[in-house]
């Protein structure tokens, strides 16, 4: 861990300026939302009470934040210490994925000024899957900041505190694996109550397992994507040797996901529904094709050896996992009357702004804190 260093690069670049502009636009529309109501900005309606602010910013966003979860499982639980250099950047992306997911929940809540009711024991309703998700995500955001804290402590030279924290880090590492397992599976369980409104292509008792397994796969894909893009952008030594080893793990998880998905579809006799012409069926196939492509690249030695194919496969996995979530929550969902939903431009700009803020903070952090390994040329 001692070899991680801040990247000595300028904070102000064309990229960061564009990101700042996008964040400002998002905050403008959020201002409109708080003054005039959700309907003034978002196209959500009685048939589709949840739109992309829930599905993209929270449900997909936290899956993108699963890098820290996935790597902690590999490094600390399965004892694969060789992947340690990927740990901190993974935690960092998780930190922002989750922190901003939590932030997105606040502006999506219709009665956000009551949000603290989630913490009042006399109000909470333990049967609610939403409650489990909310408390678990809140706890995990705290855990992520603690897991990432050594980077701050190193930077500030607080070695005494860091030593104490290091001694207890195993507790947070364990929580950092347990909590995402719980709430990522619960994001699937949240749909179990939707039985009569959700297409059988997505509705299954295995939703919790499918959600947590795909979150894990997406977590690894984020780490691979990030390591490749960052080392290319900042001309750091390639991490491909490490990534290609990780690929086999991801490949096996992806194959496992596909097997579970399809065995379940066959077991429920839902497969014929995949041959009906409709938008949702088309997206069902796209979703599965993306997973299959990633699986094929990652399980073949040639695919793993090629940096380009690996990057493409990681992107396919992220796209497939995102589409799976979007389909399960919005596309495969059928409202009771003829409502339709497509996000408005302001609504999209808010989600784009949240993602921009995430990337922006990531760039600021890697340039000011010891996160990345191997910036020898610029030390």
């Amino acid at each position: 861990m001692s070899t991680a260093t801040p990247l000595r690069r300028s904070l102000i670049t064309p990229t960061t300026l564009v990101l700042v502009a996008l964040v400002v636009i998002a905050f403008y529309f959020l201002g409109v939302r708080f003054l005039f109501g959700l309907g003034a900005v978002a196209n959500i309606n009685s048939g589709y009470p949840w739109g992309i602010w829930v599905v993209v910013d929270v449900i997909i966003g936290t899956a993108f934040g699963c890098g820290g979860f996935a790597m902690a499982l590999l490094v600390y639980i399965f004892n694969r210490g060789q992947y340690h250099p990927l740990m901190r950047p993974a935690l960092l992306s998780g930190l922002f994925g989750y922190t901003l997911g939590g932030f997105a929940v606040i502006f999506d809540l219709g009665r956000y000024w009551h949000a603290y009711n989630l913490l009042l024991p006399w109000y909470i309703q333990p049967n609610s899957v939403m409650l489990e998700v909310a408390l678990c995500v809140m706890a995990y955001v705290v855990v992520l900041w603690i897991e990432f804290a050594p980077a701050f402590l190193e930077r500030l030279g607080l070695t005494g505190i860091k030593r104490v924290l290091d001694r207890w880090m195993f507790v947070f590492a364990a929580l950092g694996v347990l909590l995402p397992t719980m709430h990522q599976s619960s994001l699937g369980s949240m749909l179990l109550v939707m039985g009569y409104k959700l297409s059988p292509l997505w509705f299954t008792l295995w939703l919790p397992a499918l959600f947590v397994i795909s979150a894990l796969a997406m977590g690894y894909a984020v780490v691979m994507f990030e390591a490749t893009v960052v080392s290319k952008t900042f001309s750091l030594p390639s991490e491909h040797a490490l990534i290609s080893k990780l690929s086999l793990v991801v490949g096996c998880i992806t194959v496992g996901w596909l097997v579970l998905r399809w065995v379940d579809l066959f077991a429920r006799d839902a497969v014929p529904l995949a041959f009906v012409g409709s938008v949702s069926v088309f997206l069902f196939w796209v979703e599965n094709a993306l997973f299959l492509f990633a699986a094929l690249v990652f399980v073949t030695p040639a695919g793993r050896a090629s940096p380009r194919a690996s990057l493409l496969a990681a992107v396919a996995l992220l796209a497939g996992g995102s589409l799976y979530r979007l389909d399960a929550y919005l596309v495969g969902y059928q409202p009771l009357s003829n409502w339709s939903y497509f996000p408005s431009v302001p609504e999209l700009m808010v989600s784009i702004g949240v993602i921009s803020l995430e990337i922006l903070l990531y760039l600021v952090f890697i340039k000011t804190l010891p996160v990345l390994h191997g910036d020898a040329a610029h030390r």
Partner: protein
């Protein structure tokens, strides 16, 4: 008054297959036992064949619950907030009358070339999804009367109840920065004073009839067993009270009582002269969705045993492995 869109019931037909495909058998081990209806549960019978579409119930509901007028966007040109014209349930409308129309729409309660009315509001499920999904107990089901109420002072506005309700009942007011969930609470504030729900109180024909669910069930039985055309005294207001009844004849009912079994059963029941899906009432199976999701959560989180055991295991492994990593790295630094 909104036409029940044709696509609605086409979709309703789609649901029939979806509902049939629900993994009820496979879920038998996961789902928790279904909830039982309270012996003192109160309910309502809405008889579509008695409804004349006067919408007195819609107006009375607005007055009793202090709800504002609801004017759809496309009617605002000629209606400046004076005439309440809701087309569907919304953040401003707890109860609405809708109409089914087909062909020439000449005959009442005929599927072909006919029309029929339907009243939509909360059905007060025996095992409500909204109560099950609400993270902050804003939705409550009274243990005695079975009325499902909503407390806006607890509600965080997450809208999971809107998303989850199999009947599409709870609504959020999206056009208000301080918006609330709106849903029929069976005029529980009036019932506390010994009165009956406003819609049943005002209904001139007895199409909306209030009463204990047991008595409602007996009245349904009387109507369904009598031969069409025989005279019948249809009670008005509250069943068993001494209001003058509506003397008419038994109509041709379609088979079935909507609400008897749907999604675990409801305390509001429907009788109709045309098939229920045509009236926009969703085709649902007998299983309550909440029994499945709660069953899954209770299996995974039973006494928190699984999470605690997993935590201890992870903590043990992490501690051992971290110590080992520190040793590995020690010579380097």
């Amino acid at each position: 008054m909104n036409a029940v869109d044709r696509r609605d019931f086409l979709r309703g037909a789609g649901f029939a297959t979806a509902a049939a495909a629900l993994p009820t058998e496979a879920s038998a081990g996961i789902a928790r036992p279904p909830k039982e209806i309270s012996p003192q549960a109160v309910g309502m019978l809405y008889d579509s064949t008695l409804c004349i579409g006067c919408k007195a119930c819609v107006a009375a509901c607005k007055a009793a619950n202090n709800m504002p007028p609801d004017i759809p966007q496309h009617l605002t040109d000629w209606n400046e907030d004076t005439w309440d014209t809701p087309e569907d349930l919304s953040g401003r409308t707890l109860n609405v009358i809708k109409v089914y129309r087909n062909g020439t729409a000449e005959q009442k309660d005929h599927e072909i070339n006919g029309f029929a009315f339907v009243k939509r509001h909360c059905l007060h499920c025996v095992d409500p999804s909204c109560v099950s999904v609400c993270p902050v107990s804003a939705m409550q089901k009274d243990e005695v009367t079975g009325i499902v109420t909503h407390d806006p002072d607890r509600c965080i506005g997450c809208r999971y109840c809107v998303y989850g309700c199999p009947f599409g009942v709870p609504q959020f007011d999206f056009n208000n920065p301080l918006g609330k969930i709106a849903k029929c609470q069976f005029c529980s504030h009036l019932q506390k004073k010994g009165q009956i729900p406003a819609c049943c109180d005002v209904c001139p024909t007895g199409a909306s009839l209030f009463g204990p669910v047991k008595e409602i069930e007996q009245e349904i039985e009387r109507r369904l067993t009598a031969a069409p055309g025989t005279p019948h005294e249809f009670p008005r207001g509250k069943i068993g009270k001494n209001r003058p009844p509506n003397a008419a004849t038994i109509p041709h009912y379609v088979k079935g009582i909507y609400g008897e079994h749907e999604a675990g059963g409801t305390q509001v029941r429907y009788l109709a002269g045309i098939p229920f899906p045509k009236l926009g009432l969703p085709t649902l199976g007998r299983q309550s969705p909440a029994s499945l999701s709660e069953g899954m959560q209770h299996t995974l989180y039973h006494w928190l045993i699984a999470p605690v055991v997993a935590f201890l295991g992870f903590a043990f492994l992490a501690r051992r492995n971290m110590a080992q990593h520190a040793d590995d790295e020690a010579p380097k630094s």
